[in-house]
């Protein structure tokens, strides 16, 4: 067992974990932050994306010990302080960017990472950035549309094909 300390959504936490404990297991099972999902065993789906020191990572493909001392943000930390949805979350709701919602936490965290680096991406850049986020429901069009809308761009011309 090893002791790890990190900041999760602005709160300091410390836990004893085993070497093989994945960051996502610590978030979900020890901290009970079950908004971060696990959709695969192969690092492909992106349902588990969180930010570690501001960068999008797959929390199923990083050990908790490796996040020692880091600042972690998860989907639970995305809403505004007063509980209202963040701009990205609101856009997903308005543009029907989710159906079952399983992929959504990862999609929102990836979108947040993209817009931080590239505040007004092109549609192609949004699609390329979502390379590692798989959605089995939506066909992606409305996810892309929601992210474009969250970036403040006009999405009236983006139609489902």
């Amino acid at each position: 067992m090893a002791k790890v300390s990190m900041t999760v959504n602005g709160t300091s936490v410390s836990r004893e974990v085993e070497g093989q404990t994945l960051l996502v297991s610590m978030l979900r099972e020890d901290l009970r932050l079950t908004g971060t999902h696990v959709g695969c065993d192969t690092s492909q789906c992106g349902a588990c994306v969180v930010h570690v020191n501001g960068k999008a990572v797959k929390s199923c493909t990083m050990f908790a010990v490796e996040a020692d001392g880091a600042e972690v943000s998860t989907i639970e930390g995305q809403a505004n302080a007063d509980g209202t949805l963040s701009t990205i979350q609101q856009a997903f709701q308005e543009h029907h960017g989710l159906q079952c919602g399983f992929c959504t936490p990862g999609m929102v965290m990836s979108a947040a990472a993209l817009l931080k680096d590239n505040p007004t991406p092109t549609e192609g850049e949004v699609r390329a950035y979502l390379d590692g986020n798989i959605c089995r429901c939506t066909g992606y069009h409305n996810i892309v549309k929601a992210i474009m809308a969250a970036s403040g761009q006009d999405v009236s011309a983006i139609a489902a094909e």
């Binding site: 090893a2 070497g19 065993d41 990572v57 797959k58 493909t61 050990f63 490796e66 390379d131 590692g132």
Partner: protein
């Protein structure tokens, strides 16, 4: 996963010591190793993390070379070497997906030497030097077959030094499920000749296509390779493509890389 401990040394010397333990294994970005551990295809007693070692970070460009620390992520290479070595930045920007690029490292990729990985093509195609905790190894001597390198037990890739070419380009034809190259070709033109490295295609891992190098050194244009034949006797044949198909792709990707670089 089987149970193991993780050590996070902060110097190369401490990492080398930690790796002397029975069944210890290095852990870099983990984007290949962690899925492998989940499948129980490896059972280390200890993983020695290499990502908190300051000596293995950093990128320096000077005097016609770019030197990259072994634990530098693909995202950092993509964001930092665009000026000094654009073809290398472009290659790094297309490995895996954004989250994978934020963790995966150049040293990890070169140490693993997956036969379909991107970085081995850049290193061999550039005639790079692989720097370890004990020595410097020329790329021509370093890659020794599928998942096989010149690294000794417990030896760590601490950095890589790339001589910057006059022109270079990387063309990859992806296998749409894995997103790894089905075939990809790195072409680099130096003052003393052209190097062509092919990944994804051979049972021996990354290799140089000597006939194309000769032809392109004489005439750096896609026409120079259009009449060549790739020997397909040692190429991978699987459900994604026959050896013959891969041989054809090698020629096509080489031509495209030359056109894009020229």
């Amino acid at each position: 996963m089987y149970a193991f401990d993780i050590e996070c040394p902060t110097s190369v010397a401490d990492a080398v010591t930690a790796l002397q333990a029975e069944e210890a294994q290095p852990l870099s970005g983990g984007q290949t190793l962690i899925p492998t551990l989940k499948q129980r295809l490896a059972a280390p007693s200890t993983l020695v993390s290499l990502t908190k070692i300051p000596e293995m970070q950093g990128i320096e460009a000077s005097g016609g070379t770019v030197r990259i620390g072994g634990a530098v992520t693909h995202a950092t290479v993509a964001a930092s070497v665009g000026q000094a070595y654009p073809a290398l930045a472009d290659l790094a920007s297309r490995i895996g997906d954004p989250a994978v690029r934020n963790r995966g490292t150049i040293g990890g990729s070169l140490a693993n030497n997956d036969p379909s990985a991107c970085y081995p093509a850049a290193a061999l195609g550039s005639g790079a030097t692989i720097i370890t905790n004990t020595r410097e190894i020329a790329a021509d001597d370093y890659f020794q077959g599928m998942f096989v390198t010149a690294l000794e037990e417990g030896e760590i890739v601490t950095g890589v030094s790339f001589p910057v070419p006059e022109k270079a380009n990387y063309q990859k034809f992806i296998q749409p499920a894995s997103r790894f190259p089905l075939v990809a070709v790195f072409v680099a033109k130096y003052g003393d000749g052209v190097r062509v490295a092919v990944t994804g295609a051979s049972n021996e891992g990354v290799f140089r296509w000597a006939e194309a190098e000769q032809a392109l050194s004489a005439n750096f244009s896609a026409d120079a390779v259009s009449g060549l034949q790739v020997d397909d006797s040692n190429l991978i044949a699987d459900l994604h493509g026959s050896a013959d198909y891969r041989a054809h792709l090698i020629k096509v990707m080489t031509g495209r890389a030359v056109t894009a670089a020229a």
